[in-house]
Structure formats: structure tokens, C-alpha cells
């Protein structure tokens, strides 16, 4: 075993690296800037977590996914690595202060991009030796990426402030155009590129065209009569996730079925995640809130009861299947009018024309008495029915167009009617773009060609052949499938026996795993 593998084994308990990890880590350790695309589920995070345990200076990870950073810090602590910390809007001011005052105690520091706009944070970071600066979800820099984040555009500045550390830019889903965008944005940095294909050759793809919701239910019931493998079923609506979980739970008393969505209490969500990891749950009916940061190797089946709004999200969610590289299946269920839900979702992500009109009327009014005003939530809630995503969109627009003061207040004298028209134009443009992405997804769902080719071709020049079975268009049916997975022993019957297994695991010598 060479030195790197030894470290990997020591900290993570894996004997070998997954494709790409070792090459990327070696380059980083040699001080090269790296741009890498790695598929979902390939262990992207190891590429910076392992170096953080080995190198002298600190590692900073910028990611917009707050729950992901919280999950990763938790996972690391679970593995015994306590020198990781997340700084984001979840922290209270007191917590944040206390973390920042003892920042030197940490090796791996996760930050949300907006935290890097905070002068106090930057000042504190500048006192440290930063060896590696990681830009996770790097596609957020691109206006044409599916998750554009204006905060990301300011990363160049932050990197400069921090004394030009080694850069690692990572992404899982970036078309070649988006890749170019990212590299161009960091024009000062000479990247070594590590482009790994994002296609997953161990996942077979099926799309089922059905006529009605009731047919989707019937399809699932029929499916679980034959297969009982670790499964995630994705829903857009929380109510539907709960309904189907109850339905399946009633139909299959031998299966453990649960639902998961953002409305559940944190402590209950945590229990469900861990139960799923330990194979205590067979089927989980979830919204997209579930999955990020969940490192379960043997998910055999990912079903989309509802489809997301774009191919990139679909690819990410499908990618949670088969991390152990064994044969796994993705099934998308579609019925007529299935575009209504994602269309509505897209609408709620953008401010409406009425909202913009109303906002500007207000601003012009306030202009007479004030010079600046903060676009904070309270202000907006008092005036318009607007959600947080819509509010951010407007704020980002103002920030990009230099209409904000240093501390994030709108400079009212700069507000002229032209800005309103430009903002409305921007909304329309964004809306067209998003609807275009949705169309792309529907084209894929209804195409007659090989699904694998069609799904991945815009992301890479060649798509590998399937390792097991390809897709329904290429003749794959579930009857041909023989999945492997570790079964868990059924739950013990009496409370006496259960209590014994919980309190005296050293006597029963078992975990309930077969």
C-alpha cells in the first residue's frame, strides 16, 4: 500500500481510491490548481477531505449547499475527525463569533459563498495559512449553469485576499460550455484538468409512460411485489410522498417504508437518514431534500414518481443509486400533465411582473424620504407576498448592477425606471431559460433513442457502454434484473428481545444484519 492509500485507509477505512480521486489529490499536494468533473457518488469530497487531514495549512471549502456542509461535518465527526466546521446562515451570531475566534483550531472550514462577502470573516481567514481553496459546485459560476449563483462571481476577489492558495474547482454536472465558462472566469489561474465522465455505467434506465396517478401507484405495488431492494422514490410534493409511503406501508407489511421531507423535525430527519443507512428502511418516499450528503452504497433503485425541472437534477438524483458499482436501476414514471408541477415550481422561483412593479412603486415612494433601504425579508414581507428564492433573485440583480451599498442596502438615488424594465427582462429571460431546460428533460423522457446516450451526450463526448443492462429503449426490462444487496434481519418481535439487542449488543454479538 502506498502512502496515500494508507492515509485513506486510516481516516476513511477504504482500501483503495475511486477513479480520479488519487490523481486529483496528488496534483493538489504538488501545489497544482485543479479543475475536476467527477460524477455524483464518486466521492468528490474525499478529494479535499483527505488533503485537509494531511497538509499543514487550512482547507477552505466554498459550497452553496448548506445541508451538505452540515452533513459532511457531521459525517467527519462521526469518523472521529473533529477539526471540521461549517460557517453559514444556520449559525447564530454568537456561534459564528465563537467559531471565528478559534478558527485556528480547525483544519477544514466550510463556508457559504455569502460568508466570503463578510469583511470580518475575511479578516479572520487572512490570519490563517490557507493551503487549499475548494470551489465546490463550481458550475454555479456560470450564468448558463442550472444553478447560477451571483455570489460565486466574487470568488476571484476572495482568493486574492487569501494570498492565492492552491485552487480545486469541482463539479458533477457541467456541460462542455459550462466547463469553459468556469475556466474562463478564473482566467488568472492555470488549471490542470481532470475531466471524468459523469455517465454511470452500472445504472440501467427505464421510463414508463402511464395514463394516470393511479397507474403510477399500481405500477409501484406491482414492482415491490417482485423486488424488495433499498429504494428511494422522489416526489415534488410532500403530501404525495406521505400518501404513497402510507399506501406502500399498508400494502407490504414485510417492508419498512418511510417518508422524508423538509417539514419534518431535524431530529426525526436524522433518525430516518440513519435508519436508511443501516438498512432499517427499505423504501423511502422523499422530496429532493433527501439524498445530498447521504453516502449509502447499496441503493439499488431510484424511482421518480415526479420528475424534477431539469436533466442536471435528474442525473444527480439517479446518481445516488449503485455507489458500490453493482447493478442498479432508475425508473421515471410519467403521466399526461406531469409538466404542470415543475412549471409551477419554476414560477415560484422567479418574481412575477406584478411583484417587480409593486417593489419599484414602493422604492420610488421611499426615495422621497430615505437615501438607502435594506431589501431584507421583513421589508419585503410587509409589502409583497414574496418567497425567499424570489427575494434573493431581486437582491442578486441589484448587487450585480451596483445598486447596493457595501452593507447590502439599496441606494435609492440609483433607482430609475429603466432598472425596472431591465429586471423584468431578466426575469423573462431566466424564465425562458428554465422552461427550456424543462423541455429538454421532456424531450429526453419521450425520445425514442437510447436513453443512456441521450442523457449524457451533452455532458461528454463519448458515453460508455452499460456494464449490466442499458435502457428500456435498448430492450431492458426489469425481468432481466437480478440485483444484489445485503438483507437485514427482520425486526425482533417482542420488546424484551428488542431491549436486549439494544442494550446488550456485546452479548447477542449481532446488529440484526444477516
Amino acid at each position: 500500500m502506498n502512502q496515500l492509500e494508507k492515509q485513506l485507509n486510516k481516516y476513511f477505512g477504504y482500501p483503495t481510491f475511486r477513479p480520479g480521486q488519487k490523481e486529483i489529490i496528488e496534483d493538489i499536494l504538488n501545489g497544482k490548481h485543479v479543475f475536476a468533473t467527477l460524477p455524483t457518488g464518486s466521492g468528490k469530497s474525499i478529494c479535499y477531505q483527505l488533503p485537509s487531514m494531511m497538509i499543514d495549512g487550512k482547507v477552505i471549502v466554498v459550497t452553496p449547499l448548506l445541508s451538505l456542509m452540515e452533513d459532511q461535518v457531521k459525517q467527519l465527526k462521526k469518523r472521529g475527525f473533529k477539526q471540521a466546521v461549517a460557517i453559514n446562515s444556520f449559525n447564530t451570531t454568537v456561534e459564528r463569533r465563537s467559531i471565528l475566534n478559534q478558527l485556528d483550531a480547525y483544519q477544514l472550514i466550510y463556508l457559504s459563498p455569502e460568508m466570503l462577502q463578510n469583511k470580518y470573516v475575511i479578516t479572520k481567514l487572512r490570519q490563517l495559512k490557507i493551503s487549499l481553496f475548494v470551489i465546490d459546485e463550481a458550475h454555479c459560476i456560470s450564468q448558463w449553469g442550472h444553478e447560477f449563483r451571483p455570489d460565486y462571481l466574487k470568488l476571484n476577489q476572495a482568493i486574492e485576499h487569501l494570498g492565492d492558495p492552491t485552487i480545486l474547482a469541482l463539479t458533477a454536472t457541467a456541460t462542455p460550455d459550462v466547463q469553459k465558462d468556469i475556466i474562463n472566469h478564473f482566467y488568472k489561474i492555470k488549471f490542470t484538468k481532470h475531466i471524468y465522465p459523469i455517465d454511470r455505467d452500472n445504472i440501467s434506465l427505464i421510463v414508463e409512460q402511464l395514463n394516470h396517478r393511479s397507474e403510477k401507484d399500481a405500477y409501484l405495488i406491482n414492482l415491490f411485489q417482485k423486488w424488495s431492494v433499498p429504494t428511494i422514490i422522489y416526489f415534488t410534493s410532500r403530501k404525495e410522498a406521505e400518501r404513497v409511503a402510507t399506501l406502500l406501508g399498508e400494502k407490504f407489511s414485510q417492508l419498512s417504508v418511510s417518508y422524508y421531507h423538509g417539514e419534518l423535525e431535524t431530529s426525526e430527519r436524522l433518525l430516518i437518514q440513519e435508519q436508511f443507512m443501516e438498512n432499517q428502511i427499505d423504501i423511502i418516499c422523499a422530496t429532493s431534500a433527501f439524498g445530498m450528503g447521504i453516502d449509502k452504497q447499496n441503493i439499488r433503485l431510484v424511482i421518480h414518481y415526479h420528475i424534477p425541472t431539469q436533466l442536471e437534477s435528474l442525473i444527480q438524483e439517479i446518481g445516488r443509486a449503485g455507489r458500490d458499482q453493482l447493478s442498479s436501476v432508475s425508473i421515471s414514471l410519467i403521466a399526461p400533465n406531469d409538466d404542470i408541477l415543475p412549471r409551477r415550481l419554476i414560477e415560484t422561483e422567479l418574481p412575477s411582473t406584478e411583484m417587480v412593479e409593486s417593489l419599484f412603486a414602493s422604492l420610488l415612494h421611499i426615495q422621497q424620504s430615505e437615501t438607502t433601504i435594506s431589501l431584507n425579508q421583513a421589508f419585503i414581507h410587509n409589502h409583497w407576498p414574496i418567497n425567499e428564492v424570489q427575494r434573493r433573485f431581486i437582491q442578486d440583480y441589484f448587487a450585480e448592477n451596483d445598486l447596493m451599498t457595501q452593507d447590502g442596502r439599496i441606494e435609492l438615488h440609483k433607482i430609475i425606471p429603466q432598472i425596472k424594465h431591465d429586471l423584468i427582462k431578466r426575469v423573462e429571460q431566466r424564465s425562458r431559460y428554465k422552461l427550456g431546460k424543462l423541455d429538454e428533460l421532456f424531450q429526453w423522457l419521450t425520445a425514442k433513442e437510447c436513453r443512456r446516450q441521450a442523457l449524457y451526450q451533452s455532458f461528454q463526448s463519448t458515453v460508455r457502454e452499460a456494464k449490466y443492462h442499458c435502457c428500456d429503449q435498448c430492450g431492458f426490462t426489469l425481468e432481466q434484473w437480478s440485483p444484489e444487496y445485503g438483507k437485514r434481519g427482520r425486526e425482533l418481535k417482542s420488546w424484551q428481545a428488542q431491549l436486549q439487542s439494544i442494550l446488550l449488543p456485546f452479548e447477542s454479538g449481532g446488529t440484526g444484519h444477516e
Partner: protein, 345 residues
């Protein structure tokens, strides 16, 4: 069980308070008014038994009861049981576990106790098989810190687990079979995570509220069991009583109490704290509820106090306005409220 609790509680309110007062009592609102109500309407044993209950969930449950014809509600939000509701309440014998709730003193105690015990069981079970990589089921730093120092004080965690196992087995056989099952299902151990409230509700065909109350009651009963049988090593998990009583006095009332103890008068305290007279009076009333032997002689003569207490007994109505009407204008509202507080002990 939850519905029973609602019917019972609304009946206790005698149509004198809106349903919101019941919500505040069971969710444990820390206000003088709610603490007064809990005493007035003899529901101290239910105070704060369901802190997590959301207002919308409570309102939903009330409107279900109305739909079922068990309740009617007027425009002021005051509910009255229908004949059907009364009958249900009568037929539905007070379940044994409802009696497990013993009130203000134990409400918070049981929560802290259960959090500490559950996290200790999970931690020790994992460490007993030399696994220190697990996700703690409780993320409350105070609880984690407590378990950590408890662990440091322990020599032999395997014997601890065996002892606890025997005591829990004995305890669980004294309670209902279903209740015992729910109690055990909720626990986490080595590579085995406890069930969520929703999962338990689904499995046992109960409402989420019922599962919550069953679990809370079980821990109240367990505390009782530990105290009765003087199981010293588990008694350590029960938080100190003194700390608890303090918690039921609001911070601000505690400050007022300190000043009173230093000999300041109400008028002086008004100046020092820059608060209104009515606020300071509220504090003193709150203190009168929390401290049975609080000296009230500075505010009301013992003779007068006794007279009001007598009137309260006779009219059997705890509404301030009613009492005031009865005793006439001889006493201030403040004095009457102090008397009512005294009457609660």
C-alpha cells in the same frame, strides 16, 4: 388519549376561557396568566406536558372534535362540551398513563431525563462493542456535554448496560404492553436507530400526539419507579429539582424577587427596574404561585386574605371579574389575584 386530554381540559375551563388557554397550559407557556390558569382550573398536572405541540396542530384537533360533534365553540373561542362529548369523557375512563403526569414540577424534568438516558444508552451500546463512529441521536449540546461527563465518571459501561437492562425490563413489565413496545422502539443502540414519532404512529395506528404523550408518560412513570425503588445510579439522570422550580418563574419575576428579598418596596422596584406597576404586580402574583410560603402581608392583611379565600370557595368561579363583583370594591384586583394564587396551594 390526546383527544381525551382536550375534552377533559376544556371541561375544566368551565366555559370561562378560550381554547387558547388550554393550548398554553399543555404547551407550557411561561406566562403569569398561563401559570395562573393552570392553578385556577386544576390542570397543573398537564402544564407543559407537550411543549412541541404546534398551535395549528392544536387548532386542527379542536376543529376535528367540533366536526365529530363533541364540542361547540362560540365566537369568542370558548368551547363547551356537547352531551355527546360529555358522554365520551365519562365513558372514557381516565387512562392510567394520564395519571402519570404529575405537573409543573416534573414537566421539564422528564424531558431532560429522557434525553440524557436515551443518548447514554446509544453511546454506551456503541462503545461496548468498540464502535465510536455513530451519529448521536440528540444534537443538544447541553445533553451531549452531560453524557460526556457522565461517561467519564463510569468505570465499566458493560455492567452499566446490564444493570440498566434489568431495571428497564422490570419497569416495563409494570406498564401496558403496547406502551412498553413503543418505549423500546424509540430507543437507539448499535447500528440500530430508534423509530420516529410518525413511524410509531403509523405502526401502532395512533395519532402522532398520542405517541408523544405515551412516550412522555412512560418517562414520568420511569422517574417515579426510579425514585420509589431508590435506584441511585439512574437517579443521577434526573435533573435537580431546585433548578426546575426556578424555571417556572419567568426571568423578569426572578429579578423582582431578588429585589423584594433585599427589602425594596414595590415603588422602589418600579423606579429601579423602570417597569410599570402592573408588571411588578404580575411578578408578585407569579411568585405567589411558585412559592407556597411567600409572605403576602406587605400587600394584604391576613384577615382580608382569608375573607377573599372564603368567597372564592363559595362562588366556585375563578374569574377575576366574578370575584371582584362578589367581594365588592374593598379589594384591588391585585389583592384578589394574590388570594387566588394562595388558594391554589
Amino acid at each position: 388519549m390526546f383527544n381525551y386530554l382536550l375534552l377533559y381540559g376544556l371541561k375544566q375551563l368551565k366555559g370561562q376561557r378560550s381554547t387558547a388557554s388550554l393550548y398554553h397550559i399543555i404547551s407550557g407557556r411561561r406566562s403569569t396568566q398561563t401559570i395562573q390558569d393552570a392553578h385556577f382550573y386544576q390542570m397543573t398536572q398537564f402544564y407543559s406536558i407537550y411543549q412541541k405541540l404546534k398551535r395549528v396542530e392544536f387548532d386542527q384537533a379542536i376543529s376535528n372534535l367540533i366536526d365529530q360533534g363533541d364540542l361547540i365553540i362560540d365566537d369568542a373561542g370558548v368551547a363547551t362540551l356537547t352531551l355527546k362529548g360529555e358522554r365520551i369523557l365519562k365513558e372514557w375512563q381516565q387512562p392510567k398513563i394520564i395519571k402519570a403526569f404529575t405537573g409543573i414540577e416534573s414537566a421539564n424534568k422528564a424531558k431532560v431525563f429522557s434525553d440524557r438516558l436515551a443518548l447514554t444508552i446509544q453511546t454506551f451500546a456503541n462503545l461496548s462493542v468498540e464502535n465510536n463512529q455513530f451519529q448521536p441521536i440528540n444534537e443538544d449540546l447541553a445533553i451531549q456535554q452531560w453524557v460526556k461527563s457522565y461517561y467519564q465518571s463510569q468505570q465499566d459501561i458493560k455492567s452499566w448496560l446490564i444493570n440498566t437492562y434489568h431495571h428497564l425490563t422490570t419497569f416495563l413489565t409494570t406498564i401496558d404492553e403496547k406502551q412498553a413496545t413503543i418505549f423500546v422502539n424509540r430507543l437507539s443502540g448499535y447500528r440500530n436507530y430508534g423509530q420516529t414519532i410518525q413511524q410509531l404512529a403509523m405502526k401502532h395506528n395512533l395519532s402522532n400526539h398520542d405517541v408523544h404523550l405515551i412516550l412522555a408518560a412512560s418517562y414520568h412513570q420511569l422517574i417515579d419507579y426510579i425514585e420509589t425503588n431508590q435506584i441511585k445510579f439512574l437517579a443521577q439522570f434526573i435533573p435537580e429539582q431546585e433548578q426546575q422550580t426556578k424555571k417556572f418563574i419567568t426571568q423578569s419575576a426572578q429579578q423582582t424577587n431578588r429585589l423584594l428579598n433585599q427589602g425594596y418596596t414595590i415603588d422602589q422596584i418600579i423606579k429601579i427596574r423602570r417597569l410599570k406597576r402592573s408588571t411588578i404586580e404580575d411578578h408578585i402574583v407569579e411568585l405567589a404561585y411558585a412559592i407556597p410560603n411567600l409572605n403576602l402581608s406587605n400587600y394584604i392583611e391576613t384577615e382580608d386574605l382569608n375573607e377573599i379565600l372564603e368567597e372564592i370557595k363559595q362562588i366556585n368561579d375563578l374569574r377575576l371579574s366574578q370575584i371582584k363583583q362578589q367581594v365588592g370594591d374593598r379589594y384591588s384586583y391585585f389583592q384578589i389575584r394574590l388570594a387566588i394564587a394562595k388558594a391554589s396551594h
